[in-house]
Subunit: 123 residues, 2 copies
DNA sequence: TCCAAGTATTCGACAATTCGAATATGCTTG
DNA sequence: CAAGCATATTCGAATTGTCGAATACTTGGA
């Protein structure tokens, strides 16, 4: 059981382990219930992509959907998760220097580059 | 920058998004500084595997290593992460019923089965 | 110096995630 | 019912994560 519990936690973390999903959660936390259209317009992302990420969040019960006629409104299911993100910011600030180094690191590696033509390292 | 910050958070979550790494973090939180041998003996895992997971945690600065002679002692770098896990438990309890359903779901799907011989559904 | 203990890294196979494109589903209005 | 908007799902390709086995590195002692 101890192990199942850990798998459960891991799945929650996994669900949050993507910049877009974090953006979505933060948006819902700040703006409350929001329709899908508003989400992908605010975040400037493709509809399908947002829908896929919402599906992930939904499957882990991080988010709840409410249907209203044509559209679907999403909201955070529990504000504990908002707190988690706050702690995250705290964590970030507490170790600002190293965090910045990490960010720098991330910048050099360029995120999800899909068309980097010749970036290969080590010939 | 907003986006970089989200990528940073996502990486932290990603680092925690594995049952073994959660087990490690919880162990370090509860027992304090611990040598690698003790970790993999307590968790009944392969040395290499634990070392790989520790490398992940290290690369995200979730954990710090202190060398002492032959061995390396690991500890949590920030108790904020302990708090995050506490919030997680809170989250779990707050939604116990659905969480249990999720666990049940996970049980049926069996995690990381590598040698399930004939479990396939749909012939 | 050689060896053994304790950790870390590399490698190859396989599983899982992610994206955009295409397509499907569901609701509402005419 | 057809058309059209809002959302979801499926597909294939590329990327990333995971594991055990093998191997390398580092330290302390014979």
């Amino acid at each position: 059981m101890q192990d199942n519990l850990r798998r459960f936690k891991a799945e929650i973390f996994q669900a949050l382990a993507h910049p877009t999903r974090i953006a979505i959660v933060e948006l819902l936390r700040d703006d409350g219930e929001t329709a899908v259209t508003a989400v992908y317009e605010r975040l400037e992302l493709e509809q399908a992509n947002v829908s896929q990420h919402l599906a992930v969040l939904r499957s882990k019960h991080i988010v709840v959907a409410r249907k209203d006629g044509n559209q679907v409104f999403y909201s955070l299911r529990d504000r504990a998760l908002g707190k988690v993100l706050d702690l995250m910011r705290q964590f970030f600030h507490a170790h600002l220097e190293e965090s910045l180094a990490l960010l720098e690191d991330m910048r050099t590696k360029e995120p999800r580059t899909k068309k980097t033509p010749a970036g290969g390292r080590k010939p």
